[in-house]
């Protein structure tokens, strides 16, 4: 079975591209692996669209497979042989599957939603890719439910306050590790909880049944409403499709606090499908806004302190890619692979 690795960032400039490049280097050296590369955003540009600071460029080699939007090829120096044109439309044209025939830089803009990524991943495998990297976009994470191994890139770009960053990262990983409850046959299924009326209905159903499966998301407002039921939630089960559905509803810290209060009342919160966070990468870099000149400059927090504070907050491996390269990270990814 192929590795399908997603690389998501907690914010812009947390080192997604650096992590992607480091893992790509390792895949290139691994004779048993054929790379499949795609992205849920737009990556590989010379300069950051917002800060105007330089960015690392992605380079691909002959044989590698890619799934990218047509127009991203126009600004890439790599030569790509067209294997298949899909009908998946993006702002930069239809997604094509291609094989690299000449090395060079590649701008990867790919399928940007879950539904489309779900179609593209088997296609990459069909053409032989057995190590697929799904490059992330900004702070987006929703389509990453489709991958079977997730690397989270975080760092000073999220916040340069290391205490805050450590707490946030800890909570993020904890939510992603909520337990899997595979047996949901006897539970009531409901749609996304997006307003008070839906939250009221959810509470009523939950209090009259053993558990509820939400086939979608629950807004933070919905969670707040549920809290009002207090001790009555004890022993009940609230199941979501996956942990990412919990993360997209608001700031991590806020969501975590709401979920913790619910759990403290005895509500069991779990997911149907695991999103496996394999490792974290940390990046001391952040773009610092200069009011004097109205632009950004590169800045760094203390690398050692950053690494230590994150390592102490989570139960998964942490890497500083710039400092140590991608070798050990790659070992962890391959080792944890499920066959």
């Amino acid at each position: 079975m192929a590795v399908i690795l997603g690389i998501a960032g907690t914010a812009k400039n947390t080192g997604k591209t650096t992590t992607t490049k480091a893992i790509m280097d390792q895949v290139q050296q691994d004779k048993n692996r054929l790379l499949g590369l795609t992205s849920i955003g737009y990556d590989g540009e010379d300069m950051d669209n917002i800060t105007g600071l330089p960015k690392p460029k992605i380079e691909v080699w002959p044989g590698a497979l890619v799934a990218v939007a047509e127009r991203s090829l126009e600004v890439s120096s790599a030569q790509i042989q067209l294997l298949e044109k899909t009908d998946i439309a993006t702002p930069l044209g239809k997604i094509i599957l291609g094989k690299v025939i000449k090395s060079g830089t590649l701008l990867i803009a790919g399928p940007n939603k879950s539904k489309e990524l779900r179609r593209i991943l088997p296609l990459l495998q069909h053409y032989g890719a057995n190590f697929i990297i799904v490059d992330g976009a900004l702070n987006r994470i929703a389509p990453m439910v489709e991958v079977n191994s997730l690397i989270l890139a975080t760092g000073a770009a999220k916040t340069s306050n290391l205490t805050d960053l450590a707490w946030e990262t800890k909570h993020l990983v904890e939510i992603l590790q909520y337990p899997v409850f595979p047996k949901t046959e006897n539970m009531v299924n409901v749609d996304s909880i997006l307003d008070i009326q839906a939250a009221q209905r959810l509470t009523a159903i939950l209090l009259n049944n053993q558990g509820v499966v939400i086939n979608g998301v629950i807004s933070s407002q919905g969670l707040e409403y549920l809290i009002q039921a207090g001790e009555e939630l004890k022993g009940k089960m609230l199941i979501l499709p996956d942990a990412i559905k919990l993360l997209v509803c608001g700031e991590v810290r806020h969501i975590y606090n709401l979920l913790t209060r619910l759990k403290n009342f005895g509500l069991e919160i779990g997911v149907k499908k695991e999103v496996r966070v394999t490792a974290l990468t940390v990046n001391p870099y952040y773009p610092q806004f200069r009011f004097s000149s109205n632009d950004y400059q590169a800045a760094y927090v203390d690398q050692g302190l950053l690494y230590e504070s994150i390592t102490n907050s989570v139960n998964i491996p942490v890497f500083d890619i710039v400092e140590e390269g991608g070798h050990k990270l790659y070992e962890v990814i391959v080792e944890k692979e499920i066959y």
């Binding site: 914010a11 812009k12 849920i40 955003g41 737009y42 990556d43 540009e45 669209n49 917002i50 939007a69 127009r71 126009e74 439309a89 993006t90 702002p91 930069l92 044209g93 239809k94 803009a109 940007n112 939603k113 879950s114 539904k115 976009a137 900004l138 702070n139 987006r140 994470i141 929703a142 389509p143 749609d191 996304s192 997006l194 307003d195 839906a198 086939n215 979608g216 998301v217 807004s219 407002q221 990412i244 559905k245 997209v248 509803c249």
Partner: protein
């Protein structure tokens, strides 16, 4: 089934863009619902899902932290399952396809998004920004015209004069005519492109040239103000061209009316700067570009050869230089190579025709009365130039710049009409080029004391009352009204463009805002100044018009009488060339002096 579209401004206040799109979508028969500004994300997603909408259009001005906010919205929509059936587009200032892709939208609509674009997206037709790029095609301004005379008296006078010119020219030639013939018969553009040996051609050619080109061909001596580009320079020049072409997007200046088309000049002498100038003109909406060559080019018998850069204003005419410029032009850009005033007039037309120019520029009276070329010489050279222009199907304008020395408009027009009539008889398509200028004539006589409108309008009315022919005021419009103040210059150009569009002319030439006072090559920002100004003037006027006072009518009638009198005199005398020497078409008192370049070079065959 009718598509349902939900529109929601994420901005706290602004929803004008979406309101405009909503109007367009409704007109296209689509069902729409617009949410109030600042509706929470969860609410938008819920309404969209419950209402079974097919498309969600959001708008948001990008700013600090907004990208993250939009990405969060997209994530929530994805996780809620909205994106399984609903496509989401984002519009707003600073939105580009790349940003839309990064944020996870199905489409991104930046400033200038058309309603058609939004409708195409909603209807699920392929979203391709190229489709919405401005489609521009070359406009042939001469083809709608018949060249029939409405003023029969002037028509028959012109016939008499031009038949005399044709008879006069029948057995005459000049070194310029001979070079043109050689270039026409013995120089092959395809062979040039294949870099085939042309030494035999140039050995023969050198014999027909002045000392400077002769020394260049026979002894390898460079013209003192030029040098050949180095290999490295040529390589980086080619890289520059292909890089520029990749990112080029053309633009249209016209608003409701399709005319006038707008011309801009280039000719910095420097091949690199020429590219920047041409691309800036195209990028900011010029429909055509005019090649300006150095003034010494008109006074030197023969052309040079090679990839030449010129240390002064004016881009040297050589096959290589013209080829390079032609290659970098966008497909929709009209290209004019001027041939009009000197000793290389006929050969310029041949070269321009072979290399692919769309238009050229030929005249007799201005070149021989105010630009230094001998009248007989320019008459015979222009005669052949016109025949080549007909052969290569290049329309050409006939300038009346002798007005700038003080020749009154009616005399300049008489000269222009003679050349135009000759051209029609020789199978070519002439374009009349009256000046829109604060000319010495009006400075002295006061026709522009009150306004710049009446006298310029009178010129157009007069020409239209005489003949059905294309009119292209120039060159540039507003000549001598502009100053060293860029704002004043741009405004003056824009106002003259306003008058031109109101009068319904076919084309205009505009100067850059610093052209009159640049003291060297013009600058790109000032080129953009006037292009933007003219665009705004077209937008401002639309199909409305400017109303001249009754003076325009009076001056029109006077002009026509003046033209008739001049033509009668020439027809009576029966010798057009002699009438140029005699000052009938512009006298010494009026600042017109028959030129000396090429004097005594016309011989009988």
């Amino acid at each position: 089934m009718t598509k349902k579209v939900l529109l929601s401004p994420l901005d706290p206040v602004h929803d004008i863009g979406l309101k405009m799109i909503k109007r367009g979508l409704n007109e296209a028969g689509l069902e729409t619902k617009l949410l109030p500004p600042d509706t929470p994300a969860e609410e938008i997603i819920r309404i969209c899902m419950e209402g079974s909408f097919d498309t969600l259009l959001l708008s948001r001005t990008l700013g600090y932290g907004v990208a993250e906010l939009l990405a969060r919205f997209v994530d929530l929509a994805d996780a809620a399952g909205l994106r399984d059936n609903v496509r989401i587009g984002i519009g707003g200032m600073a939105v580009r396809p790349e940003i839309a892709a990064e944020l996870g939208f199905d489409a991104g609509f930046g400033p200038g998004t058309t309603v058609e674009e939004a409708v195409a997206f909603v209807e699920g037709r392929e979203y391709s920004p190229q489709e919405n790029e401005i489609k521009k095609e070359k406009v042939d301004i001469a083809s709608p015209y018949t060249y029939h005379y409405k003023n029969q008296k002037i028509g028959s006078l012109l016939e008499k004069i031009t038949m005399q010119i044709i008879a006069w020219a029948a057995n005459k030639t000049s070194p310029g005519v001979e070079r043109a013939k050689l270039r026409e018969n013995d120089w092959d553009y395809q062979a040039f492109l294949k870099k085939e040996d042309d030494s035999k051609f140039y050995k023969h050619y050198a014999q027909l040239c002045d000392q400077i080109p002769k020394d260049f061909y026979l002894k390898g001596v460079m013209h003192p103000k030029t040098r050949e580009l180095s290999k490295d320079e040529l390589i980086s020049l080619n890289t520059y061209i292909s890089n520029m072409q990749k990112q080029m997007k053309v633009k249209k200046l016209q608003h409701t009316k399709k005319l006038p088309i707008v011309w801009n000049q280039y000719g910095t002498g420097c091949p690199f700067m020429d590219i920047a100038h041409v691309k800036a003109s195209e990028g900011w909406g010029a429909d055509g570009v005019v090649h300006f060559d150095p003034s010494w080019g008109a006074r030197t018998e023969g052309f040079l050869n090679g990839n030449l850069t010129h240390q002064e204003d004016g881009t040297v005419i050589t096959p290589n230089n013209l080829y390079r410029i032609h290659r970098m032009l966008e497909k929709s850009t009209l290209w004019q190579v001027r041939a009009h005033r000197g000793l290389n007039t006929a050969e310029t037309v041949v070269l321009a025709g072979k290399i692919g120019a769309d238009l050229t520029k030929i005249n007799i009276c201005y070149g021989s009365l105010a630009a230094g070329t001998d009248p007989a010489r320019l008459t015979i050279d222009a005669f052949h130039a016109i025949k080549y222009a007909a052969k290569y199907k290049m329309p050409f304008d006939v300038v009346t710049n002798e007005e700038l020395t003080g020749v009154p408009a009616y005399k300049a027009f008489a000269g222009m009409l003679i050349v135009a009539d000759l051209a029609v008889r020789l199978g070519a398509k002439p374009i009349l080029q009256p000046l829109f200028a604060f000319s010495p004539e009006v400075m002295v006589s006061g026709q522009m004391d009150d306004n710049y409108i009446d006298f310029n309008a009178a010129k157009i009315y007069a020409l239209r009352s005489i003949v059905d022919a294309p009119i292209w005021p120039g060159a540039p419009i507003g000549f001598l009204t502009q100053t060293e103040d860029r704002v004043q210059s741009s405004l003056s150009t824009a106002l003259h463009a306003l008058l031109a569009t109101s009068l319904g002319v076919d084309a205009i030439s505009i100067a850059s805002a610093d052209e009159a006072y640049s003291g060297g090559p013009i600058s790109i920002p000032s080129k953009i100044d006037t292009l933007r100004g003219v665009e705004e003037s077209f937008r401002f006027l639309g199909l409305a018009g400017i109303k001249p006072t009754e003076k325009a009518q009076i001056w029109q009638e006077q002009m026509v009488i003046g033209i008739e009198n001049v033509l009668s005199q020439i027809a009576e005398q029966g010798d057009f060339v002699q009438s140029l020497y005699d000052g009938v078409l512009g006298s010494k008192e009026e600042g017109a002096f028959p030129g000396r370049a090429g004097y005594n070079t016309v011989r009988e065959e």
